[in-house]
Symmetry: C2
Subunit: 444 residues, 2 copies
């Protein structure tokens, strides 16, 4: 069996490793276009914090181990230029030598990830404009930032990435300006969470403007609908689009958000071609539908499922789906969400009870903070549909309690009965999760 994998970052390497684990005799070739082996892309903004921590620390595993221990023929600088779905082969260019060759396959894994949405606004092709999709982007941004520290930085887009970057820049004594096209930041979050993030930005002296259209960039001056800003560095993080051109050109069918359309087994419409990760759709369990929610854990899990299904065509397993869990750091705040958000619930016309609870994260022990928990529950049944948190101290793994509850379709009545860990350094005797559930059960 010969497997070719296009893209070797998250889903691609996971699939490759899983295939070799289950079918050691299989030939597995990974064709990675960049010069970097599998890395933790979500760690890129955080790496900027640490001048002396090379971006290569983000590598998931050294190239030698992928080739040696895992037995994967992992090739860097290899660009696939065409998929011949009928002939079951791909055409490849070695970007270092210019040599072209083709590789036949029994199974193909399409795992090309996504790419930053680039601004085609005049002036945004200059070298002081940065994106954040690849390790190479991060390398460039980091060199710039620590090499010729900019006096003024403009961040275009107020998603996770630029909020994390704002945190880094503030740490470097810069006060970035963030401009966001949409009327609000973080549309997947409730106003009760967004307002805390806005408040923190203000507290840190970061100007954060919404509803701003970028008009043009001329040298250091960026003209927008909210006035002109000076910037020695511009970071654009205005969303990402699945990398699907190669797949579509081969007759591949696209689905939600232009991502590769996959079934629950992660098969595409092309014979023998699977897809996963940031280029593909993601099944959202609570919706019973595919959606597009590109994050690392799903990519890795999908990769494993693909590997399993390639090795076990007679007993394939479904990708069980995601619950839309996500978290990011914004200064001393952790901001996290799981399950359906308010917008999705409005679309579904669900009768929802929202509960917002603020409380301490610890008992009588220093070092804690406060946490805000928002529960979105079904009226009547009390079924937990979604949860968001923002606060200091331990937030992400507290959210995971409720991610687990959502996975198991728990009601707030059940959540209130959980036997959660208590000791003053870790929680108050009524953990805020229990407090929120107790408030909610009176309202549903």
């Amino acid at each position: 069996m010969k497997c070719v994998i296009i893209g070797g970052i998250a889903a691609g390497l996971s699939a490759a490793s899983q295939i070799k684990r289950q079918s050691p005799e299989a030939e597995v070739i990974v064709l990675e276009k960049s010069g970097d082996v599998s890395y933790a892309a979500c760690g890129m903004p955080y790496n900027l914090f640490f001048r002396d921590r090379p971006v290569e620390k983000l590598y998931a595993i050294p190239l030698e181990a992928i080739r040696g221990e895992r037995g994967v023929d992992y090739r860097l600088h290899q660009e696939v230029t065409r998929i011949d779905a009928d002939g079951k082969k791909v055409e490849v260019t070695d970007l270092q030598t210019g040599r072209t060759y083709s590789e036949g396959y029994d199974f193909l894994v399409y795992a090309t990830g996504n790419k930053a949405i680039r601004l085609d606004t005049p002036g945004f092709d200059s070298s002081d404009v940065f994106y954040f999709r690849t390790l190479e982007d991060t390398r460039r941004a980091k060199e710039f930032l620590y090499g010729t520290p900019p006096a003024k930085v403009l961040l275009v887009g107020a998603g996770y990435t630029n909020l994390e970057v704002a945190d880094v820049l503030t740490n470097l004594k810069l006060k970035p300006v963030i401009v966001e096209k949409a009327p609000v930041i973080l549309p997947a979050f409730c106003e009760e969470v967004r307002s805390k993030v806005m408040e923190k930005a203000r507290e840190k002296g970061i100007e954060l403007l919404t509803g701003v259209d970028i008009e043009e960039k001329a040298g250091r001056r960026v003209k927008t609908s909210a006035g002109t800003f000076e910037a020695d560095m511009v970071v654009v993080a205005a969303g990402a689009r699945p990398n699907t051109a190669l797949f579509a050109a081969a007759g591949g069918e696209l689905g939600v958000a232009g991502a590769v359309k996959v079934d629950r087994y992660l098969r595409t419409n092309l014979e023998g071609v699977f897809s996963g990760g940031d280029c593909a759709e993601h099944y959202v369990r609570q919706l019973g539908l595919n959606s597009y929610f590109p994050l690392g854990p799903a990519a890795n899990k999908q990769g494993r499922v693909i590997g399993h299904n390639i090795c076990n065509p007679d007993r394939m397993t479904e990708f069980w789906g995601i619950d839309q869990t996500a978290v990011f750091k914004f200064f001393d705040y952790t901001v996290a969400t799981t399950g359906l958000n308010e917008r999705q619930l409005q679309t579904l016309s669900k009768d929802v009870v929202k509960v917002v609870v603020d409380g301490p994260t610890r008992g009588e022990f220093p070092g804690g903070g406060t946490i805000r928990i928002v529960l979105l529950c079904e009226k009547g049944s009390g079924l937990l549909l979604g949860c968001q948190m923002v606060g200091e101290d331990v937030v992400a793994k507290r959210l995971d309690i409720l991610a687990t509850a959502i996975y198991k379709n728990m009601t707030v009545f059940e959540i209130a009965e959980l036997d959660l860990s208590y000791s003053p350094p870790y929680a108050p005797v009524w953990d805020p999760v229990l407090v929120a559930a107790n408030v909610a059960l009176k309202k549903v």
Copy 2:
């Protein structure tokens, strides 16, 4: 309706508050023997860390708020000397004035907590021997510790309390010796967790001896089966027994471990008398049986259930039970357990698969640590029966993910599918919980 509550720390105050919440017209009298209002007893060892943090910081709520906002007639220094179950009244002595009086009741809540097992070994009645059950004990110990700092401290018993105290003493530049009667420490934990705790004790220069019998104490010298130790201070934390004398004397029936026998509604055998907290039994869901597992959260939850049941005799709710979740801090380690432990599983003759996984708590972001996760699963089904963790960084709230899983009878196959939060400051892309589940599912 008139309710009398004996003991006002955890279960007692929770019951009182719940009664007033649901039946504001009820007369609720709390008779607390000590001079301290409801406090977080689990916080007592930790309070020792902080010289200038008064032990009264452990109060859950000020006396004025209990009396004013909650409308509870909370009386300190009131000792109940007899329960007249037939006459439905209690006899009380005001310990400050010596006055005696009686109070009739429609409902009585027996919430007297537990008491330290005292050593009757010769010499252990001296003033340099300390226990840790009440806030008054803590006050005394703290005064001693910071007043005339002892040169040498002997800790008798290696349970949570003394391990926490050892941490405090080390912080004060003392190197305590711990002696434990049993052949191993922490019998509810697996050897794989115990060994990490022992290792940490060694690393911190704490001598920890097991299988030691105490023979006598003569001045500074404590004679034991493992030799003689000098000590200016002895802390005895060798377990606790439910305070049941008063209840038993009134014809009350005792159950497991000599605790007050209660049904699922927390009723005792005495008409109109409920009980909860550290003096009563605790229903263990996984066993379907009452057990004795005195901890703060259960006491508070039982108190609420009692309050509800007193106010709603026609629609009483069951105390849903505990999953035996517990956690303590030992230096930079957090040690935590939930669900059934190995001993319990042996008694049940379950066919168990044990998985031990060590991993990092974070992704590529500084400040993390390592965590060891032990999963105990049912052979075949993969049902999670128990989980223990030891490690640095975020452990307690990670354990709660698995406490939730146990509550919902999840298998490791399901746990492996959880969509847990990921971002480098909070978790690796495969959270150690997922790693452990993935290892386990191959073995069950």
